[in-house]
Every structure is written in structure tokens, then in C-alpha cells.
């Protein structure tokens, strides 16, 4: 038939589309077939195909962008094809749209078959664009690790540091990801073969063994005159107390932060008062000073041999050089709030309010909390706060809409008081719309208590064995700090 597409045309189209590396969707193909009826010369068809191909490729495959505060790309690396700046515009538009509609912008969203994953840091936004079903968790984590790498190189990641180091940034982007797959994000090792000052590299660098080794976090041949390992046990207490004064949620997030200055490839073994281990060894729960503890969830740095831990609870590892988090753990057993804050609000009149605040330390009196900071929210329109305290200093910080009560040293088993009077304007904004003042933010507390842990975790030993046979001294410190410590009040 004269009006059927000739087999030739079809073949031509198919060929054209494969040549361009763009398999045509059926409906597109049909649209093209339709074009052939409109007496369009083959060259015009090829033009359409070309423009279609361009469109198909215009969807960037998986580029990573660094954007400035206004959403303009500072630098980008497209791992699978051309960089389409238009997708950044689309990202910006969608974000602006959501913000104007007061919709919270989720870190991942879909827009016309393209997914945008983004995080921000200082004044830059890191944006990864995906057009297939990528591993979202891994993409976001990668962006965070990228921030760490940049910070390691440039001290701080911000617009200026990216511009000032764009050559290195390109080099790093080339190494940390390939074809959209995260490859290697160990900043310390990267800096062994990608250096900020190229002139220092007289000898052409080779990839360090570590990049592909099973021990990917440590290079060989490290030497120290004095071999030291510092271990800080830091426990941060997250606590939420509701307005009726009961503890809704309490959680301890602990971390074993290590700094190692050890030569060679040291084998380390760490012993803790781990209840599971003690039970396995038939030592029972222990008592007094040797009490064993049960941790809810333990996470290890990649250097720790996980299968060994799974088998016999031995924590064995070859540490990276320098600082790292060897292990983090979580404890959800109810803990007594270490610092208890009670706020009594007395309303003398509509315009005169008085706070009576009691802060009590509920730990043993041989410990002392340092740098205690209690943040007491006051209404934004509060006027002339007058504060008196039994201990420490309290200042009014209007920018935070809060009073900040600082107590440098707060021994256990003590109670301190604060009294604060402030006024409110006689006509408040909220009265007019009939909306009562919104809820006040919770009281937030910061503190640190050295030589103390909530969990009672103890480092029993840290053995360091290296084939050269040196002895290394482990230094262990304990400290407890406030994390997300919120006390709601009426």
C-alpha cells in the first residue's frame, strides 16, 4: 500500500535511533511514522530524530553538582554523559515551588522521571541527580562523605573553597565515583595520591595499595618515634521529658573515638566489659567495679572484623592512622536524667510573667558537670527580663528568644535556682487573630561530665601487636555529654 510506512523507512528510523544510541519508545516511533506521511523528506526526519536524541540525552544520567546558596552550579561532574544544566534549573524551580507552598522539601524527590538527592553544608548544596532506581541511602551517604573529603582537603567546605580548589575538586570527583558508583572516600588515603599542590609531586604518584586492598583505610610504611593510642569514650545523652514531667524517651549514644599514632600495620584488640562476652566465658554479670554491661546496638568502623565479633565478640582491627570512630553504640534503658530542670511559670498579670527555675544534678557527688548551659525559651515579644541566679550567669539572648543560664561547674547532688521576671506588651500580636501564643520550644540543656559514663562501659584492655614488637601506650578517657536533651514545659 502506498500509505503504509515502507519497510525501508522503518529500518532507516531504527538504524538512526540505534546509531544515536537512543532506543526509541514505541509512541515516539509511531509519531515519527506519522511524520513520514506528511511528505517530509528523509533529511527532515533525521533532524527530528537528532533532536529527539538530544532530548533523550539532555536528561543527565547521574551528575553530581555543587551549587551555591542561590542554586547556581559552582562545579559539576556528570558521570554518565553530558551535563544538562537545565536539570539544575528544574531542581531550583521545584524547591522554590515547595517552599512557597510551605511544603517541607524532602531530601529526595522525583520530578519528571528524574530524582534529585540533595544535602546542604554551609552555603553550598550538594546535589546528585539520578534517572534510574539508584540506591538512595548510598547516594545520600556518599554526598555526606564527599563533604568529609572536601573538609579534609580544604578545612571547610564552602563556595570559596570549591572555587579556590576547582582543579582538585575535579580530580577528587573523578576518583570518588565512577559511572555513578561510589568508589573510594577515604580522605586520608586519597590525599596520598591527589595532592593540593601538584608541584610537590615530582615523582608521578601511583595508587596506594590501600585503595584496592582489603585494608583500604591504612597505607603501609607509617612510622612514629613514639607509639600512642588515645581512646575517648564519649557518651551523649538524648532525653525528652514531657510537660507533665515524665521521661518520654531516654537514650545514650556512645562512641569510642580513637586517635592512633602507631607505626607499621598494628593488630589491635580491644576488651570491654561486654555482658554477652562475660556470659559466654561463664564469668557471670560481675559485680561492683567489674559489672558487665549490655549494649543495644553496636556499630563498628569498617576496620573491625565483623565476622570475628559475631563469632566470639572479639573486637580486633588494624586501625586507620589518626582520628576515627572505632565503635558507636546505643543504650535505651531508662536513665535518670542527669540534670533535671523544673520551670514554674507564674503569671502575675497578663503582662508580667515570672519564671522560677530549679536545676538539680542527679549524679553522684564525686562527679562534677562542666560547662552547663540551660536554654530557657521566652516569648519573642518579651521585654526587660530581669534575672537572678544562685549560681552561674544568665543572659538574655533575644536572637535565640531565650535566656541562657551558664554554670561552669555543677557538682553532683546540688540544686541551683534562677528567677526571672519579664514583661509582655499589653497587646500581643496573637490576640488579634484569636490564635493563642504558639507552644514554646522545650528547655534545652548542655553539659559535660568528665570521668563518668552512664552505661558504665569500661575499656578493660587495648592490646597493640606489631611485628616490629614495639609497645604502645593506650590512653583512655571517659566523658558524658548532653546530646538532644529536651525538657518540655507548660
Amino acid at each position: 500500500m502506498a500509505n503504509t510506512p515502507s519497510a525501508e523507512t522503518k529500518a532507516q528510523l531504527k538504524e538512526l535511533s540505534t546509531l544515536a544510541g537512543v532506543p526509541l519508545r514505541d509512541d515516539v516511533f509511531d509519531a515519527l511514522v506519522e511524520l513520514t506521511y506528511l511528505d517530509i523528506v528523509p533529511t527532515a526526519i533525521s533532524q527530528v530524530v537528532a533532536s529527539l536524541c538530544k532530548k533523550a540525552n539532555a536528561v543527565a544520567r547521574s551528575p553530581v553538582f555543587v551549587l551555591d546558596a542561590k542554586g547556581k552550579p559552582i562545579i559539576s561532574r556528570d558521570f554518565r554523559g553530558e551535563v544538562a544544566y537545565s536539570c539544575v534549573e528544574r531542581f531550583n524551580m521545584r524547591v522554590a515551588e515547595m517552599e512557597s507552598e510551605n511544603i517541607p522539601v524532602p531530601p529526595i524527590f522525583l520530578e519528571e522521571e528524574v530524582s534529585f538527592c540533595h544535602i546542604s553544608h554551609n552555603n553550598v548544596v550538594l546535589l546528585a541527580v539520578c534517572s534510574d532506581n539508584s540506591n538512595a541511602m548510598s547516594v545520600l551517604l556518599f554526598l555526606h562523605k564527599l563533604v568529609d573529603v572536601f573538609k579534609h582537603y580544604f578545612e571547610e567546605l564552602e563556595e570559596e573553597s570549591i572555587r579556590d580548589n576547582f582543579v582538585i575538586v575535579y580530580e577528587l570527583l573523578d576518583e570518588v565515583m565512577d559511572h555513578g558508583y561510589p568508589q573510594y572516600t577515604e580522605a586520608r588515603i586519597l590525599s596520598e595520591f591527589i595532592k593540593t599542590d601538584a608541584h610537590k609531586m615530582e615523582v608521578v604518584a601511583k595508587p596506594p595499595m590501600a585503595v584496592t586492598n582489603a585494608v583500604s583505610w591504612r597505607s603501609e610504611g607509617i612510622k612514629y618515634a613514639k607509639n600512642d593510642a588515645f581512646l575517648d569514650v564519649v557518651e551523649s545523652v538524648n532525653l525528652t521529658v514531657n510537660s507533665s514531667g515524665s521521661v518520654v524517651r531516654s537514650e545514650v549514644n556512645g562512641a569510642l573515638k580513637m586517635r592512633t599514632y602507631l607505626s607499621g600495620m598494628p593488630e589491635c584488640k580491644l576488651g570491654l566489659n561486654d555482658k554477652v562476652l562475660f556470659d559466654a566465658q561463664g564469668r557471670g554479670g560481675g559485680s561492683g567495679k567489674n559489672k558487665a554491661i549490655d549494649l543495644d546496638d553496636i556499630k563498628f568502623h569498617q576496620c573491625v572484623r565483623l565476622s570475628r565479633f559475631e563469632n566470639d565478640r572479639t573486637i580486633s582491627f588494624i586501625p586507620p592512622d589518626g582520628a576515627f570512630d572505632l565503635m558507636t553504640y546505643r543504650l535505651t534503658t531508662q536513665v535518670k536524667p542527669l540534670i533535671w530542670v523544673e520551670v514554674k511559670v507564674e503569671r502575675h498579670s497578663r503582662t508580667r510573667i515570672e519564671y522560677l527555675v530549679k536545676a538539680r544534678s542527679q549524679f553522684k557527688d564525686r562527679s562534677t558537670a562542666r560547662n552547663v548551659e540551660i536554654l530557657l525559651p521566652v516569648p519573642p515579644d518579651a521585654t526587660t527580663p530581669a534575672v537572678r541566679t544562685t549560681n552561674g550567669n544568665a543572659t538574655y539572648a533575644p536572637e535565640k528568644e531565650a535566656l541562657i543560664w551558664k554554670i561552669n561547674s555543677f557538682p553532683g547532688g546540688k540544686e541551683f535556682l534562677l528567677r526571672c521576671k519579664y514583661g509582655l506588651p499589653s497587646v500581643s500580636a496573637s490576640d488579634e487573630d484569636g490564635v493563642p501564643a504558639a507552644r514554646k520550644p522545650p528547655v534545652q540543656v548542655k553539659f559535660e561530665i568528665p570521668y563518668f559514663t552512664v552505661s558504665g562501659i569500661q575499656v578493660r584492655y587495648l592490646k597493640v601487636i606489631e611485628k616490629s614488637g614495639y609497645t604502645a601506650l593506650p590512653w583512655v578517657r571517659y566523658i558524658t555529654v548532653a546530646g538532644n536533651y529536651e525538657i518540655r514545659f507548660q
Binding site: N3, R25, D30, A31, P106, H144, N242, R249
Partner: protein
């Protein structure tokens, strides 16, 4: 370690390109290196420096690694625009791929893979093959990924040259990182290859992967775990051994590893037969999942979306952990919202007190959306947990007493749901609600309150008075409030048939039948009216019948979709709760044999008797409950007929579900439509259907063009080949003839029997085109065997044939044709409309009117494209477009010697005007087309149409 590279950005003076050129040719290596940096800097800020290509490539042969990397980067960016010149670089690439330094060998292969130029790709094959067998693992791991790149550019090459086998060999590599990259590469290739069975994990491969898992870098572990998640264990024993090897990964600090490990474990869990082992595995997974909430908020978000899936599949895993999902004051809103979902999924009789206390605190926070959701959650607790309902109501009343406006309104809606779940139990609170009557100004809250008054009219002493106060503003209320008022008044009248309600009902009915243009309201009013006037007792039975109670749908993801999402844990699909096919374009992601799926209305609680399905619900004697409403509404995502026929173009996923019942139902429905019979309501209750409209008999002129139109000279495209039409070949296109839209058809009879009585019907489409009469007048008719006939069917816009709002705009049409000789057989095909057929002949605008319209449409809605067509003269352009009822308004000179032309067209559908701005230079290829439309959703279609016209 801070650099000062920003100095390279500073040269902005004129003639910099020439300067770059000189410096690039400099013999001084430092100067040359600096010049390349300047070029890259210019590239970074988006300047076109492609003209320096030869000079930059000249710098490629250097031993300076930094310089080499920069030149490579330049190549990646510009090779595509200079494919001829890019060949110049090939020699250096090949040489570099044999460099003694592994860093350079890897760099060369990695970069070559990024250059998407066919001719370079061919040169890549040999070096790539060599690098896959390189001594250095760093080179091998780079080569492994490079195969996936090559596949992206040229899949045949990968298969023909044996790269797949090479990759499979690498799975046994001694270096774990190489194994990880090889498996990532293979997984990608197999997901994109149109062929099935490119790569599947065999038990041998499984063993290799499991042993590499312990040793490779953190990212490699993610690749391996993601691959393992696709493995189907043969038996429980194998599943257990996988679990044993994977479980230790839960203790890894990298949260992507943890989540991917959970994915593998969840999959194996189904296969494990021992209940003890199952229980211990569940217990093991809980703490790591909770710890994911200690990560950065972005990762928490992904974790929470995944936990929502896990909780639905296996609630036991986290049943004791509800407290960890309580919101912190500083959590970002997107995290808080997700936490609320999980809290609701985990709430039970044991923890409900605690949860309520917490939700109450949230309801007094500042963030309005969060507060509203918290209030809604209290309602959901009540609906889910009978024993807690009383407590929930108490909390809600307490919240109402705070007099915070939006809290009160949300609480009223929520209490209405509780009433529907527990009828006749908590009426005592009605008095408290009535105290807040005058603060209600949101439609949903008003509608809810009115529903309550109507439902409990007999127990509210002053129900009459209350309703009357709402009736005063009846004409101004939004539709859902009007519908509620109508129903509530009827209920009141049936319960208290006294004079007052009688007057009210008369007022409402006359208002709702005469003074409204809302068909839902009018139809419902008529139904009530007839019911009441014929048999009040029957009316009572219908309207006041007992209604089914509602239930909450917190765990509402359909089972097969849930399983698919669980097997995609950690990926984007698990974040969106959508199957991957729905957002990854088909061209790049072949539809797997996977499960069919429907869009799931997640967590929605629709109002009672809201406009959707309210009428049907009432007639059936019950409200449409949220449990059934999503099922009814979600099934036809685009259009009923398309799905049933299994030839839907837009939603491949939906097709798979439908085929078994395809032909009969499709044909039935079409038969109904042709017969002008009952509306096709059961599947799409949402569409306002008017039986009279369907008959199409209205006032539309029939066959105005039938006599006069001479057969056009152009051949029509074939729509239905003879092979599919039992010898009937149909060609056709939608055209506009003398201001009338017609389907021009030509029927060629290649069968043995004459064809006559051809009838045509169109499925619902975006524009709602439908034939004004199904019969097609053909000349000659009947069409003799071997003969051919032409004819046309006049089309008109029919609002009942418009797909539900929210469907993506599309020009595709689904057509059904039958004829007398087809013995009930109906032929289906798809066609696509050219938008210009829909431009009205009276679409010319005055200049001022045009300007007002143009300015009235926000810039943000403007859409534009660039068309590579040449227009010899402006007049030719004007003539071309005017011929299609796209009217010329003005032309004026624009920037850069361009000229701007303005056109307008009016669509005969309700979409109104489409305004165009074309910028071009006569005789020079490249036209910029900008479109602004009164209905912005048609803009992309208009762009396509204009592009087509220009290229024609």
C-alpha cells in the same frame, strides 16, 4: 591546604580565547599547565571553549599527571561536539592504557568510557579487554565499571566482544573490590539489557560474593549486598547460610550497608522455615533499624520510608520500639511527618496512652501542617483501637478547648471519622462541637460538622436551627459543603418531618436543582426529590439506612507491591513507595516480568459522601468508605478502556494486571456506549456522567462536512493494518475542516466480504474528543472487497469523555471500530492527535487582548524549546501557521538580529488560548519557541505541535 585557583577565573577580557591559544602552544610547561587550568575554569563557569579543542588535545601527551587529568576532563566535556577531532586523542589514550603507571592506565580507560563518541568506542575495546586482565587491581576495578559504560553506549559491542564473559570471570578475582565493581556492572547491564538472563547469581557466584563481602571497601559491600538481594535461595538451609554471612554487616557503621543487609535478610526471612531462627533474626534486625535514626536527617528520611515498609510486612520487628519514633523538637518537618506515620503503624492497646500523650504535645506545636497531621493521627488511633477511642475523644475535646482555630477544625473532621467508625456511641460530645460552630471556616470542617448534625438530627434539639444557620450561605459554599447540607437537610426532614424542616428542604432542593451548575449537586438533589415525592418510607430506608463502618488504612500497601518495594529497599523506589518501572523511563529500563500494580492512595481518608461517589454511596444505602474508595478510584489511572484492552501507552505497569479479562469487557463496554445505554459508571464513579450527554444527540451539527469535503490529496497514515483488522485496513487522522474537527478515515477492504455500517468510538482522552455520531459515512458504501472508501466522522469535545483531572496531558487517542460484518468483533488501535486540529477558526485575538493574556500568565509557566528548522521568510512562516488556525499578531526585531513573531490559537476544548512567541533569523536554522497557555498543562503539547509544524 587551601588553594588559590580562583585566580584562573579572573580573565574576562576580550580576546581571551586567542590568548588561551597562545599560552596552550607555549613551550613553557608551567605556562601551558596554567593555560589548561584557565580553559577548564572557563568551562566550569559555562563558557564555550570547544574551539580550543585541537590545542588542548595537543597538551595531552604529557607526563604531568595533573595536566593529563585536566585535558581528559576537557575531552569528556567536548568530545561529543567535536567527534572528528576527538579521534586525534585516540592514540594517546591507547598509549596511556599501556603506561607503566597503573594510575594512568586506569585513568585512560575510565576517561575513554566517558566519551560517548561511537568511533572512539571502537578503539576502546582492545585496551579495555587488556585492562580487565591487568596485574593491578586498581586498573581491573576501573575496567569492570567501564564495561557498563560501554554497554550504555553500544550494547551489541559488549555482547559481541565477550566483555560479559570477562566480567563474569572478574567475579572470581582475588581482589574483593574488583569483584564488587564487576557485580555492580553486571547487575546494571542485566537490568538494562532487553534480553533476559544476561546475568543471574548462581550458587557458585553466590559463594564468591559472600566471601568478597567481608573484605571489600564499604561501597563495594553495598554493591554486593544489593546484588545478593536479587538471589532466590533454593531452600531454607541455603537461606540460613546467607543470613549467617550477612547478619554481621548489621554492625557496620555505614548506614547504606546496614539497610542493604536488612534487605537481604528480609528476603531470606521468608524462606526460613524454623520459627526460632525467624524470631531471632527479627530480634536482630530491630536495634540496627533504630540506630538508623541517629544518622543525619536526610538518611533518617530514607530509613523511615523503608521502616514504613518493614513495619507493614513484619510489625513484630519493631513492635516494642514506638518510643524511638517520637519527634524531637529540632527534627526537620519531613522527618517528623514520616515518624508520625510509623507511630500510627505501631500503635496498639499497650502503648496507646503514651502515644496519645505525645500526639497531644505535638498538636500544640508551631508548624501548622505537623499539628494537623498530629490531630489526624489521634483520630486514626481511635479508628484503629476501639478501646482507646474514648481516650482519643477526650484528647480531641481538650484540644478543641484550646480554641486554636486550625486545631479545632481538624479535630472536628477527625471526630466525624470516629462517629463513622463507632456509630451512636459518642454523641455526648456533640454539644462541645456545637459550641465551636462559628469558628469553622474550612470546607472540610464545615462539611464534617454538617454531616454530624444530619446524622444525629434526632438527638440534637436545635439541629434545625443549626442547619438553618448554614443554609443562609448555601449558594456561596464550596461543592462538598453544599452536598453535605443537602444530605443533612434530607436526613433532618426524614427524622423530624415537621414544618420547619419541610420549608428547609424545599429551599435546599430548589436551590440545588435550579441555581447550580454543579451536576453532582443537581443530580443528587433530583434523586432525593423523586425519592421523597414518590415514597417517603422508601426514602427513609435508603437515606437513613445503616452504613458500613470505616476502618483505617495505615497498612494499606497492596501485598504484591509491598513485596516488590521490599526487594528494592534502600533504593529510590522504596522512598517513593512506587515500583521502579513507574518512574524510570521505559526506554532505559525494560519492563520486567514483574507484578502488575496500581497507584495506591496511601493513608488517605476521604470525607464521607464527598463529591466522589457520594451519590452512588447514598443510593446503595451507605457511605463510600475509605477502604473501598481507593480501590474504586485508583484502578483506572488513565482510562478504563486502555487498561482493559492492554494497549495502554502511558502506564506499562498497569497493563500487566489487566489482560486476562481484556477482550470481553472492552467489547461490552463499547457496545454499551454505542447503544447509548447506561453510563460506564462502575469503574469511574468520580466522573460526572450525564446519560444525555453520552447520547451525543445534543445540538452538535452532524455531518456538516460529509457532503462538501473533497477527498484530500495527502495519504492518511495507516492505523489498523489489514492483518489485525481481519482484512479491513483503516487509515486516518484527526483534522480540522472548515472549523469542524473530523476524523478523516479511509477504509481499504482487503478481505472477501463487503464492509458496511462502520462505526467508530473513542475512549476517554485528555481533550475529550468523541464522535458526534458513531456511524461513519463512507463513499462508496458498502466497501467492496479489494476496494477502498473514504469518509469522515465529525468529532466534538464531550466533557464526559475527558480523562479524570490530574492525568498527564497527552495527544494519544484510543479508537475502537466495528462494522456490520465483524460479528461483534471490535478492533482497537491508537492514534495520536495533532494539536493543530483543535484550534478554533475564531481564535484570532486583538493585540491588546493578546498582551493582557500574555502578561496574565506568569513567566514561570512559560515553556520553550529550540527547533532546528529553517524558515526562509517570515511570510512563509505566517502563511504556514495561519493555515492551521494559528493566527499571526505581530513581529518585531529582537536581540542578536533575531526577529520575534507572535501568534495565538484558541483550543476548542476548555483549555482556552495558546500564545506563541517564535524567535528566529530568516534562513538560519534554529527557532526558539516559547509558549504560554491559559491552561499550562497543554503547553508541552503545543510545543510538540509547533515543532512538528515548523519541521514540516
Amino acid at each position: 591546604m587551601s588553594g588559590n585557583d580562583s585566580r584562573f577565573f579572573t580573565t574576562t577580557k576580550k580576546g581571551e580565547i586567542a590568548e588561551f591559544k597562545d599560552e596552550l602552544r607555549s613551550l613553557d610547561k608551567t605556562k601551558q599547565c596554567d593555560a589548561v587550568k584557565k580553559v577548564i575554569a572557563a568551562m566550569t563557569v559555562g563558557k564555550d571553549v570547544s574551539m580550543l579543542f585541537p590545542d588542548v588535545v595537543n597538551c595531552m601527551q604529557t607526563s604531568n599527571l595533573e595536566l593529563k587529568k585536566l585535558v581528559y576532563l576537557y575531552l569528556i566535556n567536548y568530545a561529543k561536539s567535536q567527534p572528528e577531532l576527538a579521534i586525534m586523542a585516540v592514540n594517546t589514550f591507547v598509549k596511556d592504557s599501556q603506561d607503566p603507571n597503573p594510575l594512568i592506565r586506569a585513568l585512560a580507560v575510565r576517561t575513554m568510557g566517558c566519551i560517548r563518541v561511537e568511533r572512539i568506542t571502537e578503539y576502546l575495546c582492545d585496551p579495555l579487554m587488556k585492562c580487565m586482565r591487568d596485574d593491578d587491581p586498581y586498573v581491573r576495578k576501573t575496567a569492570a565499571i567501564c564495561v557498563a559504560k560501554l554497554f550504555d553506549i553500544n550494547p551489541e559491542l559488549v555482547e559481541d566482544r565477550g566483555f560479559l564473559d570477562g566480567l563474569k570471570e572478574l567475579l572470581g578475582d582475588s581482589n574483593p573490590m574488583v569483584v564488587a565493581n564487576a557485580v555492580a556492572s553486571l547487575m546494571e547491564i542485566s537490568s538494562r539489557s532487553p534480553k533476559a538472563g544476561v546475568f543471574a547469581i548462581s550458587p557458585q557466584v553466590l559463594f564468591k560474593l559472600l566471601s568478597a563481602l567481608n573484605e571489600c571497601t564499604e561501597w563495594g559491600q553495598v554493591f554486593i549486598l544489593d546484588a545478593l538481594a536479587s538471589y532466590n535461595s533454593r531452600d531454607s538451609r541455603e537461606a540460613e547460610s546467607i543470613v549467617e554471612r550477612v547478619a554481621p554487616r548489621l554492625s557496620h557503621a555505614n548506614c547504606a550497608i546496614v539497610l542493604s543487609a536488612v534487605k537481604v535478610l528480609m528476603k531470606q526471612l521468608d524462606l526460613i522455615t524454623s520459627p526460632d531462627m525467624q524470631a531471632s533474626l527479627c530480634k536482630k534486625m530491630a536495634p540496627p533499624l533504630v540506630t538508623l535514626l541517629s544518622t543525619e536527617p536526610e538518611m533518617q528520611y530514607v530509613a523511615l520510608r523503608n521502616i514504613a515498609l518493614i513495619v507493614q510486612k513484619r510489625p513484630e520487628i519493631l513492635q516494642h520500639e514506638v518510643k524511638v519514633f517520637f519527634c524531637k523538637y529540632n527534627d526537620p518537618t519531613y522527618v517528623k511527618m514520616e515518624k508520625l506515620e510509623i507511630i500510627i503503624a505501631l500503635v496498639n492497646d499497650r502503648n496507646v496512652d503514651q502515644v496519645l500523650l505525645e500526639l497531644k504535645e505535638y498538636a500544640t506545636e508551631v508548624d501548622v501542617d505537623f499539628v494537623r497531621k498530629a490531630v489526624r493521627c489521634i483520630g486514626r488511633c481511635a479508628v484503629m483501637l476501639e478501646r482507646a477511642a474514648q481516650k482519643c475523644i477526650a484528647v480531641l475535646l481538650e484540644l478543641i478547648s484550646t480554641k486554636v482555630n486550625y486545631v479545632t477544625q481538624e479535630a472536628v473532621v477527625v471526630i466525624m471519622h470516629i462517629f463513622r467508625r463507632y456509630p451512636n456511641r459518642y454523641e455526648s460530645v456533640i454539644a462541645d462541637l456545637c459550641d465551636n460552630l462559628d469558628t469553622l471556616d474550612e470546607p472540610d470542617a464545615k462539611a464534617a460538622m454538617i454531616w454530624i448534625i444530619g446524622e444525629y438530627a434526632s438527638r440534637i434539639d436545635n439541629a434545625e436551627e443549626l442547619l438553618e444557620s448554614f443554609l443562609e450561605t448555601f449558594p456561596e459554599e464550596p461543592p462538598n459543603v453544599q452536598l453535605q447540607l443537602l444530605t443533612a437537610t434530607v436526613k433532618l426532614f426524614l427524622k423530624k418531618p415537621t414544618e420547619g424542616p419541610q420549608n428547609m428542604i424545599q429551599l435546599v432542593l430548589s436551590n440545588a436543582t435550579q441555581e447550580t451548575d454543579n451536576p453532582d449537586l443537581r443530580d443528587r438533589a433530583f434523586v432525593y426529590w423523586r425519592l421523597l415525592s414518590t415514597d417517603p418510607e422508601a426514602a427513609k430506608e435508603v437515606v437513613l439506612a445503616e452504613k458500613p463502618v470505616i476502618s483505617d488504612d495505615a497498612r494499606s500497601i497492596e501485598a504484591s507491591l509491598l513485596n516488590e518495594l521490599l526487594s528494592n529497599m534502600g533504593t529510590l523506589a522504596s522512598v517513593y513507595h512506587k515500583p521502579p518501572e513507574s518512574f524510570v523511563s521505559r526506554a532505559r529500563y525494560p519492563v520486567s516480568s514483574g507484578t502488575g500494580s496500581v497507584a495506591v492512595d496511601y493513608g488517605a481518608m476521604s470525607g464521607p459522601e464527598s463529591s466522589s461517589g457520594g451519590l452512588v454511596g447514598d443510593l446503595l444505602g451507605g457511605d463510600v468508605t475509605p477502604a473501598t474508595a481507593p480501590a474504586g478510584n485508583a484502578a483506572p489511572p488513565t482510562d478504563l478502556m486502555g487498561d482493559l484492552m492492554g494497549l495502554d501507552v502511558g502506564a506499562p505497569a498497569a497493563v500487566a494486571a489487566a489482560p486476562p479479562m481484556a477482550t470481553p469487557s472492552g467489547a461490552d463496554m463499547l457496545g454499551d456506549l454505542l447503544g447509548g445505554g447506561a453510563p460506564a459508571a462502575p469503574a469511574a464513579p468520580a466522573a460526572p456522567l450525564d446519560p444525555f450527554d453520552l447520547l451525543g444527540g445534543g445540538g452538535a451539527p452532524v455531518g456538516g462536512a460529509a457532503g462538501g469535503a473533497p477527498p484530500p490529496a495527502l495519504p492518511l497514515p495507516v492505523l489498523l493494518p489489514a492483518a489485525r483488522g481481519n482484512g479491513m485496513e483503516i487509515s486516518g487522522a484527526v483534522k480540522s475542516l472548515n472549523g469542524q474537527v473530523v476524523y478523516e478515515l479511509s477504509v481499504s477492504n482487503q478481505g472477501a466480504q463487503p464492509i458496511d455500517g462502520v462505526m467508530i468510538q473513542l475512549n476517554k482522552s485528555f481533550f475529550g474528543l468523541a464522535p458526534t455520531s458513531p456511524a461513519v459515512t463512507l463513499t462508496p458504501s458498502p466497501v467492496p472487497p479489494g476496494g477502498m472508501a473514504r469518509g469522515s466522522a465529525p468529532l466534538a469535545i464531550n466533557s464526559a469523555m475527558v480523562v479524570p483531572p490530574g492525568t498527564a496531558p497527552s495527544v494519544s487517542l484510543q479508537v475502537a471500530v466495528k462494522h456490520n460484518g465483524s460479528a461483534g468483533q471490535v478492533y482497537y488501535f491508537t492514534d495520536s492527535l495533532s494539536l493543530d486540529a483543535l484550534f478554533a477558526a475564531d481564535g484570532r485575538l486583538e493585540k491588546n487582548a493578546f498582551l493582557d493574556l500574555w502578561r496574565g500568565i506568569p513567566d514561570s509557566q512559560e515553556q520553550s524549546t529550540r527547533v532546528q528548522a529553517v524558515i526562509p521568510t517570515g511570510d512563509a512562516l505566517i502563511a504556514k501557521l495561519e493555515a492551521r488556525s494559528v493566527f499571526f499578531l505581530a513581529r518585531r526585531p529582537a536581540d542578536n538580529g533575531m526577529e520575534a513573531f507572535y501568534f495565538c490559537g484558541k483550543l476548542i476544548s476548555h483549555h482556552g488560548y495558546v500564545l506563541l512567541e517564535l524567535s528566529l533569523r530568516e534562513g538560519v536554522p534554529g527557532i526558539k519557541v516559547c509558549v504560554r497557555s491559559q491552561a499550562s498543562e497543554v503547553s508541552p503539547l503545543a510545543l510538540q505541535c509547533v515543532e512538528k509544524l515548523l519541521l514540516a
